[in-house]
Structure formats: C-alpha cells, structure tokens
Symmetry: D2
Subunit: 366 residues, 4 copies
C-alpha cells in the first residue's frame, strides 16, 4: 500500500533511488509463454536514457538491463520477472550542497515532512530515474500487446507554446520512424526543428520549459476497462499523472470537449462496411475510443501535460531545513525539457495499463 | 479486481443499477469512534439528487439513505459501514425502445461487447446513478476530514464557453453559502446567472452542454500521498476520471503550466512568518499544493472537465445490435448539463482520496 | 485492508452485525452470463440457519436472501452482485447483562482493546451470524464451479472424541443425500446417531463440544493455485481459519503425514488408463490433490477443527471492563456444537477459494 | 495477483528461481526510521542456508544478502527495500535427467499443466530456495517487532514420531541459546539428540522424514488482527501453509481442542495483579493468545506440520511428460528433513504477519 506497485493482474513493483546501487522492477503476473526479447527492452531504455542528445541531460548512464528471473529459454514462465538496472554515474558529491536547503518545486521538503528522513542524493526516490524501471517493464507489456496486434504511439506535440499540427498519417510505424529521426521526438519534422531550437535556447539561458505528449493506441479490441472506478481512461490518467512532472491528463475531446454541445460531441455509430460487418465505427471520435470507461475498438487518444523541470541554473530564493531564508543555484546535469525522454515513458505506462486491462477482461465473462 | 472498489485503507465498494432494487456502498476501513452524522450524509445526497431545479433532470428520487451496519450509538465501530439507497422512480418502460439500439456516445455497445449481456434499463451500471453511493460514502470521508480540519470546496467554473473568474475569497464557508444560493453551483453570482440562462436555453433546444468544476482543499497537512504510483494527484486524477462524463483532469498549473519556463513556474519557499515558524509557504502555488506526489501544506487545487451529456432530444443516426443503421430519439428525463449535480460528486471523490491517504500516511513512519 | 473482503478475482465483501438491521455481501468479479439460481442460494442458507434441529440453537431466523443488483433476467451481468439478509430475531435485550462483563473465550475484550467501542449486542461483528453472508456468496461460487463440473462435499467426521470411519463411497451426490438425512451432517449413519446422542447430552448439561469437518473436492482440473504465497492449500487454510471457532487446518496427509518417511509419503504417478491418457493419477493421495500449491487433478482433501462454543450455561469466573473479578452465566439460545451448521460454511469458503483460483488460472498463460 | 506478494501494509514480493542468477525480495511499506541491521539479516539467513550440518543438504550457498535500495545511513527511508541474494551453486546439470520425468510428489507436473512451460532446473520457482528471500524480509520485520518488544521463538518439536516435551521455560533468549546449540534446533537437548540420530539414520537410508515446528510469540499487545477474513490466526495459517512442505497448521488448543467440552476449553479471565492492573490474563490459554481473530495480549502459540521431503535416493516408479511409465532415482544434494532449516522460515513468516497487522492496527481507530 506504500504505492510502489501498479496494475492488478499485470502488476509491477519498482524500487531504487537515483544514487543508490541499482534500480529495478518486478513484474508479477506476466502470463507464461510470452517471448521476451531482451534487445527490445534495451532499445526502449535507450530512448529514455540520459545523454542521448544536446537537449537532454548530459548525465551518463548506459541503463543496461539484466533479467534476474522469470524467463527460461527466451520465454516467460509465469513466475515473477525481475529486471535490474545498475546505477553507474552516481556523482553524489554534486548534491552535497543540497542537504539542508529545500530546492524550489522539488520534493525535498515533503519527503522530510512525511518520513523525517531523506536520501538527499539527487532526489532519491523522487527522481525521475525511477521511470527507467517502468520503461523496462512497459517494454514487456508492449511485447504482450504486440502479440495481440495492439500498437501504442506517443510523440511530443507541444514544447512551451509551440504546438505540432494534428497527425495526418495513420501509419504508426511510419510515424515512429519520423519521430525517431529528430531528437525532440515530434512526428512533424518542421515543428520538431522549431522545438529543438527553442529548447536549446532555453538551455543556454539556464532555464527549462514544459511541454505536452499525445498518445494514440491502435488495434485495441472493444471491452477493455472495468466499469465504475477502474475505467480504462481513469487507469490511463492515473498512470500518466504518476509520471514525474505531469500536471494534466485528458482523453478524446478532453478539456475542449467540455465547451461543446451534446449535439456536437456525440459520435454517431455507422454500419461497419467491412465484409464481416464486425466492429464499432463512429463518424467522429470525441470519445477517444472509450465509452463508459470501456474501449469501443476505435483509436484511443489522450494527451499529457508536463510542467517545466524544476532544476534551473539560476539563483533562487528558498528556505533551509530550519525554515530560514536561503539561496540556491542549480548545479549538476539536468534536462532543459523532459518531454523528449518522456515519450517512451508515456508509452510504457499506457502499455502497462492496457496489458493489465487485457488480462482483467479475460475473466469478465464465463 | 472488477473495479467496483476504490481506496486502500478507507475503501469503498459500490453496487447497484439505475433501475434495480437499490444502490449502495460498503465502506471498509473507516476507523472506529468517528461520529456519524446521518443528517449530514443525507444533506450531501440532496445536493446530488435529481429533480432539484429546472436545469437538472426531472426524474424524482428522494435518495433516502439507510445505515445497515458499522455504526453503534452514533459512532463508527471499525466494522464495515453499509449504506443503502433504495431506487424509487424506476420507469423501466421508458427504456424499452433502447433494447436493441446503441445510443450514440453511451456505453450500450461496450457492455454488450464486454459481457455479452446488458441490463438495458437506463444504463444499468453505467448510469451516473451509481455516484449517489459515492456521495454517501464521501460524506463519511468528509466527517473524518472535518475532524482533522481539512476542508474541501468545489464549484462550477465553466459551462460551455462561459468561464467564472478566479475566486477572490479564501473563506470556504462563505463561498459554500454563495454557491448554494444558485442552482448551477458557481461561487460567482453574476457568472452563475449567465450559466443558468445558457443551460436553460440549451435544455429548451433538447440539447446538452459540458462544463468544468474546480476544487480547492484547505487545511491538508504536509505528507499525504505516496511516492511513485499513488501520488496524491494521481489518486485524485483517477478518482475524478472515474466520474461519469469526465474527460480531463489537471492540478495546480495544469495544462497551462506546460507552456511556462521553469523560472516562471517554480514556487519559491519563504520563511513562515507565523509565531512557531512551522509549515511550508511558497510565494506562488503552481504546484497546486503537491510536490513529488505529496501534499506540502499549501492549498490543493485541481480542475475537472465534463463532456456534454450524451442523451439529447434530437433524432440521431446510429446502429442497432445487428450492426444495421438505425435512428434514435432521446426520451426520458435527463440533465441538460451535469456539472451542477456533479459538484458534490467531485467533493466526495476528493474526500475519499484524502481520507485514504490520511490513513496511509499514519503508517509511513514508526 | 480492514479485512472484510476475501478473494482476488472472485471477491466478496461482507457487512453486518448480529443484532443490526441486516447482514449482506457484495460479490465483485462474478463473470457475466452465469445462471443465478436464487432457490439454490436459499437452500444453502437453510442448511446454515438456526433453529433447524434440537442440536442447534433455537434462535429463529428465516435468513431469507434478496438479490439487490448484478443479476438481470436470471443471469449475472458482470457487475457487483449484492445480497441482503435482513435480521429478524434481534432480541438485543438478552444481551443487556453482558455490556460490562467480558465473556470467557469470546471476543468482547479484544474488540474493546482494538476499537475502544463495541457493539455488545450478541457479539456484533464477531458473531458467526456473519457467515450467513459467506454461505450466500459461496452458493454463487458453487454455481460457477458446478458449470465446470467441480463438486465440493463436506461432512462432520468428529464430534468430541467420536470419529467417523473413512468414506467408502466416491459418489458425492449419494453421500450428500445420506448426510442430509441426519441432523449432525455426518455421512456415516451409525456414527451420526452416536454424535447426535452425545451432543444432546452435552446440551442438557448446559455445555458445548467441539468437532471436525472433512471436505473433499472432485473434478478440480490441474493448474489451480498460484505458486509461493497464494498456494491453493494456503488459500483454503486461510479461508477455513477465518471461520469462527476454527483452530486447525490440514490437507492431504496433514499432521499425521509429518510422522512418515518420504518413501512412505510419496505418491507414485502412474500412466492414466483412460482412452485419451490425459490427466494425472497417483497410486496414493497423501498430497491431497495439491502439489507445490497447485491442484494436480486428483481429489482435494482437507480437514478443519472447531473448538467448542464458548457460550455455556454454567457459572463462570471472569472480569468486567474495569478489570475486576465478575461472574457470568450464559443465557440466550446457543449451539451446543457448531459443526452441523458449519458444514455448509466450510463448503462455501472452499467454493469461494476455488472460484477465485479458477478465474486467476485463466490469466496464467497467454 | 499471481501470488508472489504477501502482506498488505508491510508487503513483500519475492522473485527468483533456484538455478537462476539470483533470488530476492522487495519490501514495500516498511516505515521510515527503522534501524536496519545488515548483520542481523545475514545471521538469520545463515540459520536457513544449506550445508550447515550433516543433517542438512550439502549444497553450498553462502546466501550473502545485499541491500539495493530503501536504506540510507543505516535507516529505512520509507521507500521500497530491495534485497538481493545471488545464486552461487547452480549445478543445473544435476537436473538434466529430470527434464521429461515427473518426480513423485514434486511440482513438476502441475507447473507444466498450469503454464505449459517449466524451468526444470531443480524445481525452479517451486524450490524452497525462494524462502531465503522470505527470511531476509522477515529479519527486517523482526527488527520492527523488536522495537515494539514483540519476540518470536520457534523450534522443532517433532521429527517423525519423536516428540519434544512442552517447554518449561518462558525465557525466549535462553531457549534460543539452547536451540542453537544443537543442529536440529529443538529446545530440549535430550530430544534433540534423539532426533539428530534418527535423521542421520534416515539420511543413510537415502530416505527423508517429516516433522513439526512450534512457535510462541511473546509481548504482542492486544488488538492485532482484523475481524472476519484477516483474523490474526488466519493470516498466520496462510503464512505457514505457504511454506514448502507444510501440510497442517493449528493454534492454541488446535486439533486436540476440538475434542474438548466448552467447560474445559474456556479460558477464564482474572484480574491482572500487576500494579497498573492493565492487560488481559486468563488462567489457561487454549485460545493461543487470539480471540475472534484478534490478539488478546497473552502468548500466541501455534504449530506447523511438515511432510517428508519428496526427493529420496531410492528408485521410484513415475511417469514422463508423455504420460508413459518411467523410473526415477533421486540425485543431487537434498535435506533428509526440512525442519531444522525451516525454524527460521516459520519465525520469518510469523514476523511478517505480525509486522503487517501491527501497522494495520494503527489505522483501526482515530
């Protein structure tokens, strides 16, 4: 109940601090006989790892993942899969100056208030380093979903006030290729260029900037999600809001949808023109692929808002642990904008929710 | 795991369909010795009940709540508190025309897809009637929080494109009084008037409209919320997204915060000028009272977006259970806009999250 | 977490005190499309209800069950099934003399110690009346298992020092008929006669006596049970130990098995002589149908020990709430021996465990 | 839900196979500020490790534990504590002969039946090697309990038909010293000698033998345990039954208690003669320190029965994966009797239950 687990049937528990020995995750409930592709897991981690471009932190971590259990001859056995990622670049001394000073908009104070003790080396458990464990577990969830032909694609659609246009293509593989060709991970090359320039200028100012990530899920069958509390979008929302720096979540029509009339917002179902006539199609998709908390078979769409990173290279007024006025200047190596590295975290968390709800749906009917 | 429970230590499980015998809720984990004020629970339900004004559904339900267990001589005993709300106005015949036709933007199709069976009388389990059980349970959570001097206040801040100005007062009791003096439950009387006029015109058109509810929590101590997955705002987000018709959630700076620079967004802590110097104060509150998922003692603020009600009195194209084209016209008695009745649901869900995290925090330190 | 729920996927939550308005249960996770036979549920309750013979309490309760939700046109819908059993014979005044005196071997003191408040009318939540809710829920679990051709049969095999011989028949339907022909529910008529005589003499002495119940499960497929903590026999053990008055649980060879050598205890597998050769057969069944916590397809066998009922009609020394010496004499209407009425409770709890593990097993492999 | 976690608030999740890279455990919910004594954790593991005497397996594992997270400067921080125990002596080749043959009374067949895949190297996940992770986690639970002055002591009270007399001393530290002076871990030296001789003779015959372990808990305050399903003895029972080879559990009067009359079995409370008069004392303790599932402050007592180890050095008839008759002869290095090494496992599981219920009890009252 201490909140380090996520999911019910496909359930992960993460551990580790930013400057400890290692971080890791146990997946309990991965069904037996899934092909576990270690290279794929590593390639996902590579998309999140620090030091990958000029617009990410220059901290160096190879984030090499090891499988400790639950996999035999390349397949899941039904027993817990433990994944370990040793920490390499633990320059704790960079953080010595923070021991007694509460960094503005960081979690330093609240950890002290809650626990009366705090691992002050770089954020400890509150560091976004923990999300590497999620990405590793999410990669296995993606492998499970891939087998079901469910695809997830996220990309950066806003940096500060720069917004990408709506996607024109429906081909997620093609979009993925475009996305990975630029370091900001926006599927629109022109906007990507603009975003990169802006982040770079912010970085040079010692400042940071927020952004937004949009996600689309294709191939999800109807029926995923539980009524009432564990609605599919409620689980997705919790998953996204649990990512460091996220301040908002919306799906389908989102906040803008609340300004519409019902006659504008209702998605009209039409007969499915495919030969077998199976499957649910609507002329519009304000619902974002989810009705009453349950997937309807249309594309699932949602958007996630990230605040700017709190660590800036400016002098800032704050207080110390004694409650006295103090000044702090950011040091260390931090991201000017988290969204390029967060794209794969958003996908991982979405995969974890979908894998969990996929399994839960298996027992909803005799 | 079928998703009808919410919370870990202060845990509720709801049951019931819109047109069944009754709905209800079991609260498991309410600590012993809490004064249970049945009148207060009923007064909360009265704020949610149908038929309370011209801008809500005219369906009639007294929503009279009974306590079946867990309370002895006016106090909680530590055993499960069961609350029952009999259904009175079950005009199932109103719904006979919907048996084989999927209402646009309703959950009819997905229930069939998931379960292969559906209680088609008025939405069954997907009906927002289920939220009455949440309001009853939330009232008990509020009693627990009140004892801790934690106050929750929500009100309608948008209807369609009509937005209320920011609150000027900090006195939640006064705001509550203003809010309850108008039927739309907006704490700004002028905006309330405009909203009511607009909803009434929408209603006359047989249409519906969406809106937004803002919520503020005062008096919450630092330390509530668990790191990583069960962050306080992640639990609040899931709670809100589990309410019928909600399409978006943001806290603190929210979506707008993602457009800012770190130097603009960081909240600077200042020494607490109070005599004892205890407590955390920042000059701004973009954090919405939550850092790293844990309350910091400042006001907690969040906003919830509701889509327009799907049932409209217009002819709409749709399909039937056989997948063929069909036409449907809304009948029955429905809300033109849910936000006036949803204010107390938002408060109830917030209270459930806070009561749960309050108890969880009791075991975070020896 | 307050311990009023049982099961993971087929999950029940019970509520209610012995002298409150009603008791009841919510089943969350019953799959859709199960035929819900209300008469069967009632007939199960009738086997547990008080006043059914001279060797049970003479308290009168019809224990009439109502379905409040989750069932539509005779079938489960996948939504929570709420079952309500109103309390009828609430002679609270019988208990007025117990308010301040702790009855020996009852839970009075510990409820006061834990909660600082106690519903002192007849045991409140600690009363075995709560088990009626389990029997009602267990009846639905039995319906699910019946569909899978899994049968459960329990009967009384010991009362005090009177032990029944081992079962000679394998035909559970025939055994059930024999069992129900005597009021002590032992499947051996001669032993049953002896047991009844003994219980009746104990009753006349104002005393009570303990006993044992044995249970056999036939038709359970291989694969039910989870490795490590949620082993099938560990879940069965917890289920049985959660029943009022149970002091011991053993399965397969049980306590006696611990005296054997491995060469005596090992069950040798043999080729299955059936035409398809499928299924696991061993020459002996010391394993009780469970290996490594997982069912192997052989009969599952276990035994449960019940202590004598604490309420006796003798003068007993005890203490009052002030810690002073006091004397108490049992009044009211109590069972001289619980096992005749507990047979159906043992079956119900076994059914709940098996239904849960049946569903859990559905997601153990892709 | 795949059953690799145990506990609610003090919650552990274990992972690892007998012949994989490592085994380990995550403790989620250990309160902050507990002193974590790594030497104590290691000393507990040393009591369970193989190769410690002539009557245990000669397999060599140092079972050296590492702390990966959750501890800072010697204290728990409130974040997950991950403990890793690398596997050293992985002679998988010893098991090559078992790939296609189902060992009698082992879990080989049921893992194949459940998962369709099996890590056949020495039992994989079904191996008792997993219990090393429990002992490590249990050591931390013991540290928490020690701070509360709750002591746990288990020892071997039966090997085969050799039974130890009842304990004469109440001094658990003294008993612990006696227990650790003999390799069978019986607190009665004369019986210990007899047991060791017997196990050694059994070992020379290539056979194995079962036994029993008794446990006593002193200093447990009244109030631990939740009513209804999570009764203290139900949780203890599940914990013990989840240990490899356990076939039975009883507490207090146990199975023998079911033969008694109520007038014999009732424990009479007497006024507490201590100066403050606080605390509950009964003249007898058939209740085993637990009433209605809740601790009453008296000693908690329970007993656990272990079947003989299935691996014997004899020729045994069995079947292979094709269902054909086959013969197997045990090889490798196995225990002739598990109870000497299981004593510390029983204590660890008891500690985990008590630590969990201790935390749960903290939220039972306002």
């Amino acid at each position: 109940m201490a909140g380090n687990s996520f999911g019910q049937l496909f359930r992960i528990t993460t551990f580790g601090e930013s400057h400890g020995v290692a971080i890791g995750v146990i997946i309990d409930g991965c069904p037996a006989q899934l092909d576990i592709d270690l290279d794929f897991i590593q390639s996902e981690l590579d998309k999140r790892k620090p030091g990958q471009s000029k617009i990410t932190t220059q901290r160096k971590e190879s984030d090499t993942v090891q499988i400790l259990s639950g996999v035999f001859e390349g397949k899941s056995t039904g027993t817990p899969i433990a994944l370990l990622i040793p920490n390499e670049d633990q320059r704790s001394k960079d953080y010595g100056h923070n021991v007694d000073v509460y960094r503005p908009s960081h979690a330093d104070y609240v950890y002290d208030a809650k626990y009366g003790i705090r691992d002050h080396r770089g954020g400890g458990r509150s560091s976004a380093r923990e999300t590497a464990a999620r990405v590793a577990a999410g990669a296995i969830a993606k492998l499970l979903l891939k087998q079901q032909e469910i695809e997830i694609f996220a990309h950066v659609t806003s940096v500060g006030k720069i917004d990408a246009p709506n996607l024109e293509s429906n081909d997620l593989s093609a979009l993925l290729q475009i996305r990975e060709e630029n370091i900001v991970r926006c599927a629109d090359p022109a906007t990507a260029h603009e975003m990169i320039e802006f982040i770079d200028s912010v970085r040079k100012d010692g400042d940071t900037v927020g952004g937004k990530i949009s996600c689309i899920v294709k191939g999800c069958p109807a029926g995923l999600g539980e009524p009432v509390f564990d609605k599919l979008h409620a689980d997705l929302g919790k998953a996204m809001l649990s990512i460091n720096a996220v301040h908002g979540f919306e799906y389908g029509s989102g906040f803008a949808g609340s300004e519409l009339l019902g006659s504008q917002h209702n998605d009209r179902p039409i007969p499915n023109p495919s030969p077998d006539g199976k499957g649910f199609i609507t002329t519009t998709n304000f619902a974002g692929g989810i009705l009453g908390g349950i997937s309807n078979g249309m594309d699932i769409t949602f958007k996630v808002a990230f605040k700017p990173v709190a660590t800036i290279m400016h002098n800032q007024q704050t207080i110390n642990a004694a409650g006295e006025s103090a000044e702090i200047k950011g040091k260390g190596r931090h991201d000017p904008c988290v969204v390029p590295r967060a794209v794969v975290i958003v996908e991982a968390m979405a995969a974890l929710v979908l894998a969990d709800q996929f399994l839960r749906n298996k027992v909803s009917i005799l």
